[in-house]
């Protein structure tokens, strides 16, 4: 069956919008993806037909909302091929998932001198929480370097591992470079050294099939909004034995078993980590987003995006003085680049007036910018609804930038 991109585009109401009189060309999917009708409707449906607080009431609506939310959890379990739905924790997003592991696992487990290994291409959200852990425990952060193409230098990574390595926290796909990181190999090597591994899957889940059991990941996090789901909801997957041994993150309702003023006992997984009323409609709509992408098929999405990436790369290379940053052989559909010495914000402003949405700046990955000695880049990141025509629009608009700047 061929990939019917125009049919898919019809599922996304926002793609019919105009920006300054031009059709919206949305190439900022790495920052946040647009939402299909199925996701928008799931939110509306929840509030119109099955909303109440979850896991509390004996009444009909509470039961309905609880069932819908737990169905979404099962949908995500199946999506990640986790062994058990109790290993799927609803959090606000990947950032909260990482902070949860930092606080409830790393701060308990790590001692002064223990080591955490990161890579040079991590997002700030996979750096800063570990700095908190370092400051609170005396642990040491080591950083695995990348090549000029933006590939992780596996030899250098292996050299960093030691008997003191307790955790490797690594992105699955670099948000700034598009590099696909060989996480299966990293996990295998880390486990050989007795270290646990957390994978930041934000950029990976919309583009490739994930199997946390095949990967043998200890923790895997992602945000709903990059997977065509709502913002404010995300997933922390953790192996049950690790999650069971961890202390709770936030205290409050839903996460308790019994409470008195002397002491409290905590609920079982996954509720131990879900204090307070969760983003109920968000969780349900995340389930709808997962159903949407699995309905199209991740292998079909991956094939479409990789064809777009090849075309866009070729087209951009035809513009003199486009400098691509991130040219790893294994790449997701993310193109980070600079145009002459024109500042990315000037490029972004001109593209915007032509209806083209790209990200400009450091992409919350300042160490990557430092590594390539640039202050910022322009980043076009593609999603399942983007087209070749949109690549052409981007290229035409970049030529227009050159014209304005007389380059």
């Amino acid at each position: 069956m061929s990939y019917d991109v125009s049919k898919i585009r019809n599922d996304f109401p926002i793609l019919g919008e105009e920006v300054y009189g031009n059709p919206l060309v949305y190439l900022d999917n790495g920052a946040s993806a647009q939402k299909p009708r199925a996701v928008i409707d799931a939110i509306g449906h929840t509030y119109e037909h099955e909303y109440a607080n979850v896991h509390r009431g004996v009444h009909y609506m509470s039961q309905k909302a609880t069932d819908a939310m737990e169905n979404a959890r099962e949908t995500v379990r199946s999506f990640l091929n986790a062994a058990d739905a109790r290993e799927i924790i609803f959090v606000r997003g990947a950032t909260e998932g990482i902070n949860l592991v930092a606080s409830s696992w790393a701060e308990m487990e790590l001692k002064s001198g223990d080591e955490i290994i990161l890579t040079e291409m991590e997002h700030h959200s996979n750096i800063v929480p570990w700095q908190f852990v370092r400051d609170r425990t005396g642990a040491v952060i080591k950083v695995a370097p990348i090549s000029d193409d933006g590939e992780l230098l596996m030899d250098e990574f292996e050299k960093l591992l030691s008997p003191r390595t307790r955790l490797v926290a690594v992105t699955h796909i670099s948000n700034a470079l598009g590099t696909v990181v060989p996480v299966a190999e990293i996990i295998r090597i880390a486990h050989d050294h007795g270290a646990k591994v957390l994978i930041d899957g934000c950029q990976a889940v919309p583009h490739m099939q994930i199997d946390v059991q095949a990967l043998d990941a200890d923790f895997y996090v992602f945000s709903g909004h990059k997977l065509y789901g709502p913002s404010g909801i995300g997933i922390l997957y953790g192996k049950a034995d690790l999650l069971n041994a961890m202390r709770p993150y936030h205290g409050g309702g839903e996460m308790i078993n019994t409470v008195s003023f002397e002491e409290s006992t905590f609920a079982e997984l996954p509720f131990k980590f879900e204090a307070g009323t969760p983003h109920i409609a968000g969780a349900i709509a995340l389930g709808a987003a997962v159903d949407y992408v699995t309905g199209i098929g991740l292998e079909n999405i991956a094939a479409h995006e990789s064809e777009l990436l090849a075309y866009a790369t070729e087209q951009l290379r035809e513009i003199n003085s486009v400098g691509l940053i991130g040219t790893a052989p294994e790449k997701a559909a993310i193109l980070s680049f600079n145009l002459d010495d024109i500042h990315p914000h000037d490029v972004g402003t001109i593209l915007d007036r032509e209806g083209i949405a790209v990200r400009t700046g450091h992409h919350c990955a300042q160490p990557v910018m430092d590594r390539f000695d640039v202050a910022a880049t322009v980043r076009a990141s593609f999603g399942l609804y983007n087209t070749r025509q949109e690549v052409d629009a981007l290229v035409a608009s970049l030529r227009r930038v050159q014209e304005i700047f007389g380059a």
Binding site: I342, P344, Q366, M369
Partner: protein, 151 residues
């Protein structure tokens, strides 16, 4: 498209490509650093003040065309003026670029060559680029040790 040409006028492009008074002076007097964390624009402004008058202004900037052009024009305009006059000039400029209403011709005239930057009014996300050098200059005059940020 016209508003793009309004934003990127030749005079702006000229100042951004050939910034005036760029570089660290041998004897920097007062200095301050400015930073726009959103875009990573960074600027350092050096100013020598003598008897309330800005004798020399220099800057080092890593930023977009708008911020570099604004810094360059600022360095030309503020030189030889009193600190008070420079503040008044910044106030006028700030008011013009953040104004919700079109700016009156007599107000535009007051802005002198800064009038070229008035196009950023149509680009709210870029106003901070134009004003960062001025905030930083104000801090340098005060010799603030606190880094200026637009956030």
């Amino acid at each position: 498209m016209n508003d793009l040409r309004d934003l990127y006028q030749d005079v702006i492009l000229d100042h951004s490509k050939n910034p005036r008074n760029e570089g660290r002076p041998e004897n920097p007097g007062h200095e301050a650093k400015g930073n726009n964390p959103l875009c990573g624009d960074k600027i350092t402004v050096y100013v020598t003040v003598d008897d309330g008058v800005l004798k020399d202004i220099r800057f080092e900037a890593r930023g977009c065309a708008i911020s570099v052009a604004s810094a360059s024009m600022m360095s030309e305009l503020a030189k030889g003026k009193s600190a008070e006059d420079v503040r008044a000039m910044f106030d006028d400029f700030h008011e013009a670029v953040t104004s919700k209403e079109p700016v009156a011709p007599e107000e535009v005239e007051k802005l002198d060559k800064l009038a070229a930057l008035i196009g950023v009014r149509e680009f709210p996300m870029r106003v901070k680029c134009a004003t960062l050098p001025w905030h930083t200059l104000a801090a340098a005059i005060d010799d603030s040790t606190q880094e200026v940020t637009t956030e």
